[in-house]
Amino acid sequence: MMKTPYVIILVLTLLSFKLVDYTTLDKNNINFRNSRQIPLAKGYDGYSLEYGMLTPAIIYAVQKVLNVPFNIYKSQLIASNAVNFLLFLLIYFSFFRYLKYYFRDSVSMVGLMLLASVVTLSINGSYPESDFLNLLFFLAGFHLMLKGRDIFLPGLILIGMFNEMQISFLVVFYICFLAARGKRLSIRNILILLLSSLVCVTTYMAIDSNIGIYDINTDLNISNNLKNPGLLLQMWSVSIALIVVSIFGFRSSQKFFRYALAAVFIFIVLIFILGNFYDSGKFLPAYLILLPMSLNFIFGDIRSDAGQHII
């Protein structure tokens, strides 16, 4: 009985990893990745990939482990594909498990497939893997919260910071999670919050002192992001649609999602001010809130009892 979702997860993984290979891993980009990989992995390269050193480092390590007896091009290609395959497998598996906290199996499956659908629109840049790894870290964070293993959150954030600093936003979602419980904060919760925030700040400062953080020019970011409003609107059309559906699903959603939706708006504003609004991969973690809320609206009247104990 449990075989079906895993078959679907495998098929989705195959399709998504192939799509990344198809759209990103062409010869030019592979050469670029090869030339930048070692400096990026070691944090020497202040290129546009900023401080996402974890993804190039993982791919580099896989290359070394696999020790592919081909040229450097094939080596990079095989290692990247292996990493992508594993990444998507883990993402889809953990997203399905995450949805299962709230919905019955078939609705969770619809949500899973909707994620695979929006993933097709989120493949940007030379190292799109970093966005997907970031998504996986967020998913892992949500699982830790829901399973009461939130003690591991600071460790997760520490690792995630070396991929994308966006993972620090997990702290905000954790606050939403705690607030949704409606209980008093325990010392443990406060400690986790403090430790997570401390990890964010110290990792940021450590990277700053070793590599040097580039100056964030918010004015420039905003003017760049507003350069082509028509294009921007089209790029965000799916996200806007999901936000609208989520708003419709607000009432029928669990408390955590209602608070988290407010956090998603802050998340959007931060991307707009601090980053590139045209890089849709950066919005991926928001789907972890928007998709369940949309499912709440879409299937609201036929939601199962599963997850009623979940906040």
Binding site: P5, V110, S117
Partner: protein
Amino acid sequence: MKPLIRFNPHLKPAYIVILLLTIISVQTISFNVIFPNVPLRMKLQTDILSGNMEPPYQYRILKPYAGFVIEKIISVFSDDSALNHVISYQLIMIVVFLSIYILFYLFLKLFFNNTISIIGLISLSIIIPLGITSIWEEGDYYNLLFFLIGLNLIFLSKDYFLPLIMLAGVINRDQIIFLLVFYICYLISINRLWDKKSILIIIASIALWGAGYYVMRMIFGFKETKYTIQWNMAANKQMLSQIIFLWSSMILPFAILSIVAFRKSPKFFRLALISLIPYVAIFYFFGFLTQLAKFLPAFLIMIPMCLQLVKNKGYFSSLDEADQTMLKAGELT
């Protein structure tokens, strides 16, 4: 006064998912097909409409004509020809994908409950990005739409409209003739192949397809194509490793699951799956196997077959509440 269209509130999940998928697919096509090289697309359109294009693209006039007509209408409001081009083709894609998803949903609903049909719909939308190989390929989605219209007509016993689909479809892609194979599979499955009406429909379909095929060549001239069978075979051979990789990710999982579901599937799908073997062979001789958008009609057979695997499992077997309500209302049999 009775409303023209009755909105069934029990189908809310499907309506919303269809809208979401339409937005996703239109965005995918816009960013990967329409936007990347608008000047080249405009040139291709002009070349086709003026009869200066190489075959077989010369004879695929439905898309450029549709685009041209919408461009003319939009030009009343804007002088920017590139913008008009983009908007007109995007508008067409919205209509095409909305129709594709509605019709595929209706087709799936003939066999499955609401949730499984929605899963089938999303499966189709996930495949679409992998089929994108050029900046001038929206015709493949028109083709998919014609196949869907045809399949719905067949299953709703409105098959007498099939010849018209052939006529409209042939000015887009010659491939539409394969719809007749699906029709024959259907007729065999219900033991109606040798009915007078069925034979007449088949003959009329072939006649109108042939008429469309020859009229196009009479208008634009019988041009010699460089894409001969030998040329296509050589190209496919050259891209063999790429083809294996692409097909193993995109086609193989669906093919394996369809084979596993073979026994559980209705007779029509079993026959149609077998018919996909010659379909692939024809594809090998007459096209590039990397251009998977041309293979999309095959998914109209494979996706429902894959869904058969979940249909009778405890996992999805219980009818949705929406379905149960409809059953009570006598809308679903």
